[in-house]
């Protein structure tokens, strides 16, 4: 029973870290209409930054400053935001789908770097022994799991509240105005490039934080974690939950991560061992088909975007 409960804690903890990435993507895509195909790249930047800052010194990779975990998470957000600022500065002034291609290219190149810049990243073997939060509780799995879940929930909760305020603020309204009709919004004196770049950088920082938290909860990272399937998972979470809606992003993260984990367990149980690798491929086919089906049948997701008005107006009812 405790086994099940601590598994549930771990499951929810991981789902919430995905939720953070989905929240970041929702700010970029849901509010600003920016199409980012490089979620995995930003998560990788965050994960490696956090690992360098918090892990103990090791010969196999750079960094190892053994600093406190919160510092690692802040560094992760700054690093991912900085990469996003560079990518965004080049592409945000061009047509919308160039951003898709560029972020895709950035993610592929970053993954290559993680794989091949061995002295920095540890190469294909990645970085192990990344300290976990509340390691002193590790002897009692349930307390350890609950403490980690509480931490993940607190961070996600803060991000959620902040994003809810942001999207209702004048800043959020400008973003949506630019998404709906750029010409009209810029004729009112709003600079499209600046607002978009801000949204892009904040969203990428959340993806970096998500990568950092996963690195810390698993205690191990490797380049194989940051392949396009990760980007795709986060997209499916947002689209299934309902883009434009922060609650939808979180709900989608829990639902899709649940289906993904469950189907993984089911395939391991059902398939003979020499078919396991192929079974993993089948899972991606299924989730790809599911995304296409949701886009066709229910383009607004489980909970779609709601009309968002200023909180001052809402308060006056």
């Amino acid at each position: 029973m405790t086994g099940l409960a601590s598994y549930a804690c771990f499951f929810l903890t991981v789902a919430l870290t995905y939720g953070l990435a989905a929240l970041g993507l929702n700010l970029q895509w849901g509010s600003a209409g920016l199409f980012n195909v490089g979620v995995a790249g930003f998560a990788a930047v965050g994960a490696y930054a956090a690992a360098w800052i918090t892990a103990a010194p090791a010969a196999s990779h750079w960094g190892g400053f053994a600093l406190p975990i919160p510092l690692g998470w802040i560094a992760a957000m700054l690093a991912a935001g900085a990469v996003a600022a560079v990518v965004g500065a080049v592409t945000l002034r061009l047509r919308a789908d160039y951003l898709a291609i560029t972020t895709f290219g950035a993610a592929v190149s970053l993954q290559l770097l993680a794989l091949n810049a061995t002295t920095l990243t540890g190469g294909p073997f990645g970085i192990a022994f990344i300290p976990k939060p509340f390691e002193s509780l590790a002897a009692t799995p349930l307390a350890f799991g609950a403490a980690n879940l509480a931490l993940a929930a607190a961070v996600t909760g803060v991000a959620f509240r902040a994003l809810e305020r942001l999207t209702r603020s004048p800043w959020g309204r400008v973003l949506r105005a630019l998404r709906e009709d750029e010409a009209a919004a810029s004729s009112l004196g709003k600079a499209p490039a600046r607002f978009r770049l801000q949204a892009f950088v904040i969203g990428a920082a959340l993806m970096g934080l998500s990568g950092a938290m996963q690195a810390q909860f698993f205690g191990f990272i490797a380049p194989d974690n940051y392949v396009p399937v990760l980007t795709f998972q986060v997209w499916v979470m947002l689209v299934v939950g309902g883009s434009g809606n922060n609650r939808g992003a979180l709900l989608g993260a829990v639902v899709v991560w649940g289906l993904w984990s469950f189907s993984g367990t089911a395939l391991t149980a059902l398939l003979p061992s020499d078919w396991q690798a192929r079974g993993a491929a089948l899972r991606v086919v299924a989730i790809g088909a599911a995304l296409a089906a949701v886009l066709l049948a229910r383009p607004r997701g489980l909970i779609g975007e709601r009309a968002t008005v200023s909180r001052h107006v809402e308060g006056e009812e």
Binding site: R95, D97, T102, G105, A106, N116, T231, L296
Partner: protein, 297 residues
């Protein structure tokens, strides 16, 4: 050294160019970046493998490593992949186009790309396949320039396909209609052009050329489920370099990317090959986002 870089770069550049033609055409006509285009390359190569297997072994044509069955398989692979492209459009993209938002199409194509690739991985497994296990002997073209007979034939066929494509676009009514739809779909429709027929032709041509690139890649390198996906970034780079919608641009862009990649190998190492296309593309977006041959920025 320089000569060898050129030979290798032009061969892989011709394949990138072939793949990029379809990408730039669908991009120009339908106005969305199709992330599933790389999978047409992979599917073409694997479909040809299946067809070639059905023909059974025939003696290779000396000094090549393959015989006539592979040429028949190339034709069959191109036809089948053209059908696949058309089918994907009918099942997915055409329906989503009705909803309007072009970016939703990009998400869908990203999903379709992963699903198509994983389906192949499920069917064939992750290990590489070869059309032939014969060893390709290299021929000495000039001092310091070597190429296999396979490479030369592949290059010849690729260039012939490109020339045919150029004639199609510039000299035939279909080519003129395609350019008209790419320029202005509404005006083209008003001028009496059947746009849905033009779109079907575009998918067929794009799928067939991508399949040819896949077979050529399989002949000169190997077949892997990720081969087309790894080609996707060079394909986009070539299309952007040449200017979106421009067929000659895609061919020239492909050659530039191929040569740049092969020139970068001695400098940065083969493992960073894929990042070269990205860097060339970034520079192009900064300096001349419209591409070499005009197009729309």
């Amino acid at each position: 050294m320089m000569g060898q870089i050129l030979v290798d770069g032009v061969t892989s550049g011709a394949m990138i160019g072939l793949g990029a033609i379809g990408l730039t055409l669908t991009y120009g006509l339908l106005r969305f970046a199709n992330f599933a285009h790389g999978e047409f390359v992979t599917w073409g190569a694997y479909l040809a493998l299946v067809v070639a297997g059905a023909f059974g072994g025939a003696a290779p044509i000396d000094p090549l490593t393959f015989g006539w069955p592979l040429l028949a398989a190339l034709a069959a692979g191109m036809a089948l992949t053209a059908g696949l492209a058309l089918g994907l459009d009918a099942v997915l993209f055409r329906r989503l186009r009705r909803h309007g938002n072009a970016i939703v199409l990009v998400i869908a194509s990203f999903g379709a790309s992963l699903a198509l690739r994983s389906a192949l991985e499920f069917a064939f497994g992750p290990e590489p396949y070869y059309y032939s296990h014969d060893i390709a002997m290299t021929l000495r073209l000039a001092p310091g320039m070597r190429a296999t007979a396979d490479q030369l034939v592949v290059l010849g066929v690729a260039l012939a396909l490109m020339a045919a494509m150029h004639i199609l676009m510039t000299r035939t009514p279909l080519g003129r209609a395609m350019r008209a739809v790419s320029e202005n779909p509404d005006l083209a429709r008003l001028a009496g052009i059947d746009t849905s027929r033009v779109l079907r032709a575009t998918w067929l041509i794009g799928g067939a050329l991508a399949a040819a690139a896949g077979v050529f890649l399989g002949v000169t390198v190997q077949l892997r489920p990720s081969m087309g996906f790894e080609l996707l970034l060079p394909l986009f780079a070539a299309a952007i370099l040449g200017g979106i919608g421009s067929v000659p641009g895609a061919m020239v862009g492909g050659l530039v990317i191929g040569i740049a990649e092969s020139a970068a190998v001695p400098l940065a190492g083969a493992q960073y090959r894929a990042a070269v296309a990205f860097v060339v593309m970034l520079v192009m977006l900064l300096v001349r986002p419209r591409g070499l041959f005009g197009g729309r920025a």
